[in-house]
């Protein structure tokens, strides 16, 4: 008998996906199913937290934005 699992499908670049998998690897409390290189299904109530964590992770890794230029 097939099963239906409630969740949120996330589609993104492979690079972003690998970060998501990495975030999940700490407690395994985000991902329901790892579908393919660009897709994962995540628990509905965790999406917000995941977005936040992803944001933090990206901030660490991105070079500071060049906001110079004469005003």
């Amino acid at each position: 008998m097939p099963r239906a699992i409630r969740g949120v499908l996330i589609e993104c670049d492979p690079s972003i996906k690998s970060i998501i998998v990495n975030i999940d690897s700490v407690n395994h409390d985000f991902i329901i199913e790892d579908l393919d290189e660009e897709r994962v299904v995540v628990k509905e109530n965790m999406v917000h937290l995941l977005k936040q964590k992803l944001e933090d992770r990206l901030k660490e890794n991105l070079p500071p934005v060049d906001e110079s230029g004469s005003e």
Partner: protein
């Protein structure tokens, strides 16, 4: 994109129980206001035709009033009339045809409102005192506009644009708390205030809809707070009464009940009424109050709001021609260069505040502000729930005449394509992942089972992703698929 549903007057009214309507319809002014504002034309016609009928009429007779092709409109009108407890339709039975009639209290009050008579005082009691000469229409309009702009500024200025007048000029504390309670602005973790998506939608409304939004929030907050001693039903009918008052005329506060007198300070805060400092026993309704029930404007969504802003800017441009620029509607004032610099020839603090939502403004002159678009500023706007397309269309609509002229000469688009593309790219950058909530279907017993179900969900348009190899698919709705699986199982 969720907006507090109670922002709509119609929805607010529909949620009220029938007994509340009985109370509301005791006041001729309320009855008349609901008749004017809430009903579509066909429903108004029905009401007017039934108003002086001595007996109920049959539904079949009503059908003969309407052309057969307008059946849908008729059904809609009837359902509105029923949901507002204006008509009564008898239950269908074999012996008697179905009959329709107006609710007796609605009928009585509307008759009174139209023909006059009675001593219900529901249209206000004019003050007998001498009116101070300085209070005229222009004064009241200025006063109401100032008060209302204060409210709007508070909503936008929460973004970081500080009004040059300082914090003391903002709306009253009560109003601020109301806006926060209504989630039009939000307390950010760092303690400052920020506009919300609902707040942005609010800004794009017409003034009339804005006033109603705020008033309904107010009713809701007071309704939840029983200790306030104010009855939301009475307040609502008081608001409807205000709407029927005459602009520029003084009314007697002593003729009001005590509860209603207690409401006056809040209404002063909103700019709906004006009470002279030295004559506390009279009040003047402002244009904000007297236009409450005119026009059946419903709330606009963000996109409709932008469209409306676009249209009004276009029409004012056409009507004012090359002279337009000093007009109230700040059409054609924004210049944007390929280096993301932005200049706006405007004095309107409100427009400046709107620009500050998505641009970093760093200079202000008497009639112009200068700033630039940056990754951070666009990102901030997107966090407020404003989309790149909205920003682009705002810029396009408000583009300065010079931009149009250059564009026409060089045969290029009005906005520099680099800027437009970059705004879109900045948005994409912030949306690194696309999320779709729904259901993952897996563990199918065999290929056929999987293929049939997947095909079915594709046909009904709920399939988002599938992988034939792993026998899994993702759908954004599951009810129909569940039924499909059940019927399949039974058939086996």
């Amino acid at each position: 994109m969720s907006i507090n549903p109670s922002l709509h007057l119609a929805e607010y009214l529909e949620r009220l129980p029938g007994t509340t309507f009985k109370k509301l319809y005791q006041q001729p002014s309320t009855t008349f206001a609901i008749f004017r504002r809430m009903l579509p034309h066909l429903a108004k016609t029905f009401v007017m035709r039934m108003l002086f009928l001595p007996h109920p009429m049959t539904l079949t007779d009503l059908d003969t009033w309407v052309k057969p092709e307008a059946k849908r409109k008729k059904d809609q009108s009837l359902s509105i009339l029923r949901s507002l407890h204006i008509v009564q339709i008898s239950a269908p039975s074999k012996e008697k045809p179905q009959e329709i009639q107006l609710m007796s209290n609605f009928k009585k009050s509307l008759r009174l409102a139209l023909t006059g008579g009675g001593n219900h005082n529901s249209f206000g009691v004019p003050s007998s005192l001498l009116v101070p000469p300085e209070i005229d229409l222009a004064f009241l309009d200025r006063y109401a506009r100032k008060k209302w702009e204060d409210v709007l500024h508070f909503v936008v200025s929460s973004v970081g644009y500080k009004s040059s007048l300082g914090d003391g000029s903002g709306p009253n504390k009560g109003v601020k708390e109301l806006l926060i309670a209504g989630r039009l602005v939000d307390r950010r973790p760092n303690g400052s205030l920020g506009i919300t998506q609902a707040g942005f939608t609010f800004l794009l409304q017409e003034a009339n809809a804005q006033v109603w939004t705020l008033l309904l929030l107010w009713l809701e907050v007071l309704g939840n707070n029983k200790s306030s001693g104010l009855d939301p039903v009475d307040m609502l009918s008081f608001l409807f009464m205000l709407a029927s008052l005459e602009l520029g005329r003084a009314y007697d506060t002593n003729a009001l009940t005590e509860e209603r007198r207690n409401m006056l300070p809040s209404l002063v805060d909103f700019g709906l009424i004006y009470i002279p400092q030295h004559k506390r026993s009279m009040f003047f309704p402002t244009r904000l109050a007297t236009t409450l029930t005119s026009g059946g404007n419903s709330l606009r969504t963000i996109s409709e709001g932008v469209t409306a802003a676009t249209q009004s800017a276009q029409t004012s441009q056409q009507s004012l021609g090359p002279l337009g620029g000093g007009g109230e509607q700040q059409a054609g004032s924004v210049v944007i260069e390929t280096n993301y610099r932005l200049y706006a020839y405007t004095q309107s603090a409100l427009q400046i505040a709107v620009l500050a939502l998505f641009a970093k403004l760093n200079m202000r002159f008497p009639d112009m502000v200068a700033g630039r678009l940056s990754r951070a500023s666009i990102r901030q706007a997107i966090n407020f729930g404003i989309t790149a397309d909205q920003i682009i269309s705002y810029l396009a609509v408000h583009a300065h005449e010079q931009m149009h002229r250059t564009a026409a000469l060089t045969n290029k688009p009005v906005l520099p394509p680099t800027v437009v593309d970059q705004i879109r790219l900045w948005q994409l950058e912030n949306e690194r992942m696309k999320t779709t909530s729904g259901f993952l279907f897996r563990d199918f017993t065999d290929d056929k089972d999987y293929l049939d179900t997947a095909r079915f969900s594709e046909e009904i348009g709920v399939l988002v992703w599938k992988n034939d190899h792993a026998r899994m698919f993702f759908a954004n709705k599951h009810e129909q698929i569940k039924d499909f699986l059940k019927t399949r199982k039974r058939a086996e």
